[in-house]
């Protein structure tokens, strides 16, 4: 049976190049980078080399890159750090969007318990915030704006450059969760004008459990993890040497092939969307233009997402859905509700996300198998029966 991995927004396969670069640091070069002898120095050099590569990919200074455990830690540090720093100046207001990742939303929930106030910007039907609404929401006591670069479910790309300009004008710290963007689309911290940016390695064919934060020079957030003097005393813990090496190799490769790969992925994405839109009562979620090259997110009325995923799995396809059944909660995805979908429609969502490993043949196969699966599930759905009767 054909096997298609179409859940690259969840995680990606570790690339061969990254694995090869990591192996020596999992075997022969096991020294602690803080040690003075040559085995330790070898590890230190590997970490600093990785930092230089990542800084270059983001147009940052290596001193602005700090390694940590992944996107969630980066979001926690950026948001809690910026909040606590600003609270000392009496600023306790934070602006975000309604459809951030839970690493951001739940961090904000915990800050609200400490007395911070949060404004959630609307993301409208197309899944994009409006800069003028951000500017209107900024107050004297606004400490931080945290808005994602690209959404993890519907792939919509936010106007980060405009957000950066507004934040600069009002002297508000700007953090962007760029976990879905880094490695997928060009990310230039100088162009964006952000102060903090979160990165996760496993989204671009790097290893899991490692990430980084970009923290603009001159901004010193209070530490999240206290301990040893690693990462210039900003983030304690013995470095994940193999992890950061793998991350740097994977990111470098992603950035080198980006232009060619994205032209190919966009073509595949658009062909798949056009093909799936031919299915009766199907909709595309999120803006079609300002969208990650590898993201397709659709809803099919009258069916439920988990049964769609199981059916796809039986055909060898790994995908994802924002239905309540797959989210582990009782409500469907907060992202789909934020763009105004009714619950019953949001339950019937399907996310297919692609990387450089996917091919046009994958799209052919998906277009061949998805329509009959939708028809089959609808044929046994009392909700579909009602939709047809009422139309």
């Amino acid at each position: 049976m054909k096997k298609i991995y179409a859940d690259n927004a969840a995680t990606t396969r570790l690339s061969k190049e990254a694995l090869d670069a990591m192996m020596p640091y999992l075997t022969d070069y096991y020294g602690n980078p803080s040690s003075l002898y040559s085995l330790g120095v070898k590890s230190r050099q590997a970490v600093e080399n990785a930092r230089n590569i990542i800084a270059e990919c983001l147009n940052a200074d290596p001193k602005e890159i700090f390694f940590l455990s992944g996107g969630s830690e980066a979001d926690n540090w950026a948001i809690k750090g910026a909040a606590h720093l600003s609270a000392k100046k009496g600023k306790k207001h934070i602006i975000t969007s309604k459809f951030e990742h839970h690493a951001v939303l739940h961090t904000l929930d915990s800050l609200k318990k400490e007395g911070f106030e949060v404004t959630y910007l609307d993301v409208h039907e197309n899944g994009i915030i409006r800069p003028e609404e951000l500017e209107n929401a900024i107050r004297e006591d606004t400490a931080l704006v945290t808005i994602m670069f690209a959404n993890n479910e519907i792939g919509t790309i936010q106007p980060v450059k405009e957000i950066g300009e507004i934040c600069k004008k009002h002297k508000v710290i700007f953090h962007t969760d760029a976990v879905q963007a880094v490695g997928a689309i060009p990310v230039d911290v100088k162009e964006i004008g952000c102060d903090l940016l979160s990165i996760s390695a496993h989204k671009f064919h790097g290893p899991k459990g490692v990430g980084a934060i970009f923290m603009r020079k001159g901004l010193r957030l209070p530490n999240l993890i206290d301990g040893g003097a690693q990462e210039s005393g900003r983030r304690a813990g013995t470095e994940n040497i193999a992890g950061v090496v793998g991350m740097s190799v994977a990111l470098k490769h992603s950035c080198e092939v980006m232009a060619e790969r994205n032209a190919r992925l966009e073509k595949m994405r658009d062909r798949l969307i056009d093909g799936l839109l031919k299915i009766d009562r199907s909709i595309i979620n999120g803006d079609r233009v300002h969208r990650l090259p590898g993201n397709v997110n659709m809803c099919f009325h009258g069916l439920e997402g988990e049964s769609l995923l199981l059916s796809l799995d039986l055909k060898g396809v790994s995908a994802s859905s924002g239905s309540a059944c797959t989210s582990g909660s009782l409500d469907p995805s907060h992202v789909l509700l934020a763009i105004g979908l009714p619950h019953e429609v949001a339950h019937g969502s399907l996310r297919l996300s692609f990387s450089d490993e996917n091919t046009e043949e994958d799209i052919d196969y998906l277009l061949e198998i998805i329509p009959p699966i939708v028809t089959r599930l609808r044929s046994m759905s009392p909700l579909w029966e009602k939709i047809i009767k009422n139309s």
């Binding site: 439920e304 199981l310 309540a324 059944c325 009782l330 044929s379 759905s381 579909w384």
Partner: protein, 145 residues
Amino acid sequence: MAYSEKVMDHFANPRNVGELPDANGIGEVGNSRCGDIMKMYIKVENNIIVDVSFKTFGCGAAIATSSMATELIKGKSVDDALKLTNKAVMEALDGLPPVKVHCSVLAEQAIKAALSDYYRRQGIDPEPIVGKIEEHDEHGEDSCH
């Protein structure tokens, strides 16, 4: 979350799926807002469920529990069908993940709703026999499951 082989079998090859044109009892439970609706059709002759079918909008477990519930009551007496519990449906499927237990409850309720409808059509008040069933509520705003 992993489903048992039996759940996957009933999901991939559901038994007794579709409408039953000559049903004399039809029940529907759940609501679209919560992501699952089960509709059960039964045909009763001489107190025996001679035929049964279902239609379900919902997750894999919702489809599998509906399918298994129809198998468990087909050919049984109305009294036996009334005794069907969600636990029996779960056991017959070799278990369900904890977050999916509500699907088996819904399957039990769907059978009871169909039996209630059958009694009603016979001019019998079902409530003393079947108990109170939460009928399908299209605009149910109350919390799911």
